[in-house]
């Protein structure tokens, strides 16, 4: 019989570059969803694009343990909602977007289980497209390890947006494999407070010519919060005319907050256009002055600017799928914004 291992043993150690700033121990021994061996294999082979094998996944539309999935109707969002005390591990789900189809997916993680580990594998077929929004608003005592894989076939298109506002500590890997003429957009934001620590590990691997990827991650950090941006654009051989951009923007609202930002490139084709960069700033004095000159007090002005910073992501949140209370908390309530 196989010896049962805990994830603490399975997860690579801090010696691994990609786990350098974030080590999470999650006990998976009591989960039926997981096979320790497969998990170990998966986590150890994370340095390149390696989605989990298909047989390992339950088909999303057939339902996943502890995950409520609302089936798509035309033009509507597929809603993946996990909540409640139920299980410690959320498990995995696979979503296939068939040829020529366009899906919209909203995944909302608000469960109160202390620790969670989950993986999503999104396969976008030739010419298909998907728009995916992941909202994480867990309790502030929770930890998570999240994985979103996007496998884009020729001419496929995917946009993945995330917003992390909850959890105490977490690592979120978003990896895409981008085929010829396919395009992947990643726009994410972390709004962290107290001692929250969120590690974003974003990789785009280009495997075909004239492919496109565009990654932007915004951080707003208060108190003693910590954000990590571990970005990688990898362009394999024979991918001419590829465009790949990567940017990390951080708004520091406290002297005790920290950001570790590592935008990286690995390029094996000559004829490509790539950029990577990071910026760290505090609130813009001239923007604040402008608001104040129109009668808006300093505190409200600062709030407006902070909210504005993550707007590029939050403006795409399917508001109608979350409660009014949460809309208010995230400052996306209709009457606050619409005109």
């Amino acid at each position: 019989m196989n010896e049962v291992k805990t994830t603490a043993e399975l997860l690579p150690s801090r010696k691994d570059e990609n786990y350098r700033y974030t080590q999470i121990a999650i006990d998976v021994t009591d989960s039926k969803d997981w096979d320790s061996e497969k998990l170990a294999h998966t986590l150890k082979s994370e340095s390149t694009f390696t989605p989990w094998s298909n047989d390992y996944y339950l088909k999303a539309l057939e339902g996943v343990a502890n995950l409520n999935i609302t089936a798509p109707k035309s033009e509507e969002w597929i809603f993946l909602h996990s909540q409640g005390e139920a299980s410690k591990i959320r498990g995995s789900a696979e979503l296939i977007v068939p040829k020529g189809k366009h899906y919209k997916v909203f995944e909302f993680l608000e469960q109160s289980a202390e620790k969670s580990l989950f993986m999503r594998n999104v396969k976008v077929a030739e010419g298909a497209s998907v728009e995916y929004f992941f909202l994480q608003k867990q309790n502030l005592s929770n930890t998570f390890v999240a994985r979103h894989f996007f496998d884009l076939a020729e001419g496929a298109k995917a946009t993945f947006r995330f917003y992390h506002a909850g959890a105490k500590k977490g690592q979120h890997r978003i990896a895409s494999r981008v085929e010829k003429n396919a395009s992947f957009t990643l726009e994410g934001a972390n709004r962290l407070r107290n001692a929250q620590h969120v590690d974003i590990w974003a990789e785009s691997e280009h495997v075909g010519a004239t492919s496109l990827s565009n990654t932007t991650v915004w951080n707003v950090l208060t108190d003693e919060s910590v954000a990590v941006f571990n970005g990688m654009i990898r362009i394999l051989k024979d991918c001419p005319q590829t465009l790949a951009y990567q940017s990390n923007k951080t708004l520091m609202l406290s002297e005790k907050a920290r950001i570790y930002t590592l935008p990286k490139l690995e390029i094996s084709t000559d004829d490509v256009k790539c950029s990577h960069g990071a910026s760290v700033s505090s609130l813009d004095e001239s923007q604040l002055f402008y608001l104040q000159s129109r009668g808006i007090d300093k505190e409200s002005g600062e709030k407006m600017l902070v909210e504005a910073f993550t707007q590029p992501v939050l403006q795409h949140l399917p508001k109608h799928l979350i409660s009014e209370a949460l809309q208010k908390e995230l400052h996306v309530l209709e009457e606050q914004n619409a005109f």
């Binding site: 001239s286 923007q287 129109r294 007090d297 909210e307 005109f339």
Partner: protein, 248 residues
Amino acid sequence: MNLFEVKNLSVSVEDKEIIKNFSLEIKPGEVHAIMGKNGSGKTTLSMALMGHPSYEVTSGKVLLAGEDITELETEEKAKKGLFLGMQYPVAIPGVSVGNFLRVSLKNIWGDKYSPLEIRKKIKEEAEKMKVPSEFLSRSLNDGFSGGEKKKLETLQLALLQPRFAIMDETDSGLDIDALKSVAEKMQSLRTQERAFLIITHYQRLLNYLKPDKVHVMIAGKIVKTGGPELALELEEKGYEGVVPGSLK
């Protein structure tokens, strides 16, 4: 009584004195214009009057309707009825024009109007000024042309209805038609209870908005004051011609 008064104001930027012992008196209903070469301190003056933290008032006083507002926070000055139409309105991506106007008016007006009424007023005024309605949902001053930004500044002037407005080069970046509509809007707001300080490089705005007084500013000081004819004279002769030695 003066509606707006500046008494012996000195302003420094990064410890360099830009405005030196500057004084100005403006009566209700008056329009004053300040003209001056680039770098003469016009924008420094306007920023300091509004209370920008990078512009330090080292001495002197600013009075609005007799009340000393020198030390007030910028937002308090705005609530008292001071307005600054900025030369370079800063872009604020993520804050929509409509939302910004709504929050601004709520702060200025307090509970005088309901949110619905405020919204209605913004829409009506925007329509009157031919500001396209889609502008209201776009990010503030972001991706707008220079002229469009100035039009938005004027829209704010019209909505906020300040007692005293400083318009810093509102005419720059405007095409001929836009200049006319902005100037006419300002002219329509000219009442016996309100006054304006217009900072400009050109005569053309003053054709529509005939000033009571024109001041020439050089090196942080007013060196000459006259009637509207002074602006014409400047246009014709240049600063050196009107104020000999100003090229130094």
